[in-house]
């Protein structure tokens, strides 16, 4: 087993080097509520991946615009329609993304994590932080649906 402080991957680990079983677990989380679409739609074009893998380094609004168009997303939908029902559509999407691009454009775990936070896909982001990187869960925004929702211990208490 892993000792307490070691992580399975680092932020610069390329996604294509991540074990299939780990990608599969992530994919099942992204399948819920079609979260893979949100991730795919914000992947930026022409990332300098090694420079972007560290915490807080991705400039999402990078000049290149989005890597994938609505048509690319429909293509994944088309592939998924021919999949057996127990197969993960998110896995198809990640398989396309992880092998795409030139040498320094291939996505890393660090890039993935930051894009998940940017898209507010916190189930997947928490999973990647804890299980891939052995890092604390990413911070939540102060407002909106992702914000912490806690018990109000107020005056309506007897």
């Amino acid at each position: 087993g892993w000792c307490g402080s070691s992580s399975k991957y680092t932020r610069t680990t390329e996604l294509r080097r991540v074990e299939d079983n780990d990608i599969y677990k992530l994919a099942t989380i992204l399948d819920v509520n079609a979260c893979w679409r949100k991730l795919m739609s914000i992947i930026p074009k022409g990332l300098d991946v090694q420079a972007c893998s560290a915490a807080g380094a991705v400039k999402i609004t990078a000049n290149g615009g989005p890597k994938y168009t609505a048509q690319d997303i429909s293509l994944i939908d088309g592939v998924a329609e021919r999949l057996p029902p127990d197969q993960s559509i998110s896995q198809v999407m990640i398989d396309e993304w992880k092998t795409s691009g030139k040498l320094n454009e291939r996505p890393t775990v660090g890039v993935l994590l930051q894009l998940l936070v940017e898209a507010e896909l916190f189930s997947a982001a928490d999973f990647v932080a804890l299980n891939f990187l052995n890092e604390p869960k990413p911070e939540r925004p102060a407002d909106g649906p992702a914000a912490h929702f806690s018990l109000e211990l107020g005056d309506d208490m007897d």
Binding site: V32, N33, C35, F122, P145, H148, S150, L151
Partner: protein
């Protein structure tokens, strides 16, 4: 006054609730037709509210779709769901998930009226 408990909250995730418990809870919430109150209270985005309405129009459970979004995408816990039910005074719903939250929170559930 409010006091935040969020940073001690490492309890069960909504998305890991047992299927039967989740189903019974959704049946109850749908019978009360409270999905819009739930969505408003946690500040879902307009397109997410539309998505729930769309599922409802197709005959699917709006409460289940709410949990797919709020629990499935955002990784909120059953304790947060309990807090949400308390805020909206959904006392029977609080009772239905009490076995999945810490016992010291049970005091927030009002006694049931006979």
């Amino acid at each position: 006054r409010t006091r935040s408990r969020s940073h001690q909250d490492d309890t069960l995730l909504i998305r890991l609730l047992p299927v039967v418990a989740r189903h019974q809870l959704c049946v109850h919430l749908d019978s009360l037709d409270v999905w819009q109150q739930l969505a408003t209270a946690v500040k879902l985005y307009p397109e997410q509210v539309e998505q729930i309405r769309h599922q409802k129009d197709r005959g699917r459970s709006p409460a289940n779709e709410f949990m797919n979004i709020w629990g499935g995408q955002y990784n909120h816990t059953v304790q947060s769901l309990f807090a949400l039910f308390k805020k909206l005074k959904l006392h029977h719903a609080m009772r239905m998930i009490k076995d999945y939250v810490n016992e010291d929170l049970h005091k927030y559930i009002p006694r049931s009226v006979p």
